[in-house]
Symmetry: C2
Subunit: 211 residues, 2 copies
């Protein structure tokens, strides 16, 4: 593992939802509101554009000591000097990513069910993204919603830090924390909010009340 990280409020970017405000201004507002970690996710973007986006985010986040994670593309993460990579079950295997990254990167892995957890090689994995907690419109290939109870079932099976992800907003964030998550990962609840800073603060407040 590389940088220390705090999973409390984990922002995942979405190119459609950040288009109007702009990627960097959206993330900057979210960080002002208390976002603790940022994942750049843009599955349709090419490598060069991703590296450029990642460098722009890195310039914003590094002085604030907020880790930047890149979705899927380990090569982009290494090229841009990002702090980590988040891998889905169809992406490069975490052990392969760890072999390439050495100790430099935080490596996250998505798991949706206890079976998927059992089938995953967790060597080199630093944290888990668990979900989808609710049905989500921002990830077409996400599995069936598992609810906070599904997250609690996975929580019972691993000591790794984990965030709940998928359709999480301030209304359910507290329940996700009570189910055992170390934090929540959100897309629409911040990127799609009229005021991303206020939205981040509401999520933090909802989690603080639940802890």
């Amino acid at each position: 593992m590389g940088t220390a990280f705090d999973l409390s409020l984990y922002l995942v970017t979405d190119p459609g939802l950040t288009a109007a405000r702009g990627l960097v201004p959206t993330v900057e507002a979210a960080v002002k509101g208390g976002t603790t970690l940022v994942q750049l996710r843009d599955p349709k973007a090419h490598g060069r554009a991703l590296v450029e986006q990642a460098r722009a985010l890195k310039a914003l986040l590094a002085p604030r000591a907020i880790p930047l994670i890149i979705n899927d593309r380990l090569d982009v993460a290494l090229a841009a000097g990002a702090d980590g990579v988040h891998l889905g079950q169809d992406d490069i295997a975490p052990a392969d990513a760890r072999a390439m990254a050495g100790g430099r990167l935080i490596i996250g892995l998505s798991v949706g069910t206890p079976q998927e957890l059992a089938d995953s090689d967790l060597a080199g994995v630093d944290y888990l993204g668990v979900g989808p907690v609710k049905v989500t419109g921002t990830k077409a290939d996400a599995g069936a919603a598992i609810g906070p109870e599904g997250l609690a079932a996975i929580r019972a099976l691993t000591a790794l830090p984990l965030v709940g992800i998928g359709g999480i907003d301030a209304g359910i964030a507290g329940e996700v924390i009570r189910a055992g998550a170390d934090g929540v990962a959100v897309v629409s609840a911040i990127c799609g909010a009229p005021d991303p800073e206020a939205a981040a603060r509401q999520l933090r407040d909802a989690m603080a009340r639940a802890r």
Copy 2:
């Protein structure tokens, strides 16, 4: 640069065209027919599947000392122990790839016009893929066809080894060599042929007559 390489007959795989026969059997037949270099290209595949395909091809090609190049995904190339990566103008910049790969990998770059060549940072680039020579059905985002004369114009501007690519078959391969290419890169002419071994041999014969 890593391994020595021979660009004479450069096979680029296509998932649709190799589906019936299978990826590895198609490449094996092409190699028997005289293919000198193989690029794995499957833009829609996820990282884990690409790594598996690359390892299967590596097991076939390494004993025959035929380099394996991965399209676009430097992380996949490194994870699978491939010999190189081929980058388009929208992919990670060659200099970034070289910084990550060190001296381990052959790095190829696509260029379509003299202007694109002039605008490219060629530090770390080992060879160029120049085209599309003809209109092609296997690459939706390829630019306008440049013909052998367009390739000759680029040939005059660089000392880098280069292959012509895009719609090349045995009928035009000789003309591409006479225009100054070190070899031809083909997709359909081998992957879509009823007998990939014979198709590769025909391409080699056509180029031998032109040299």
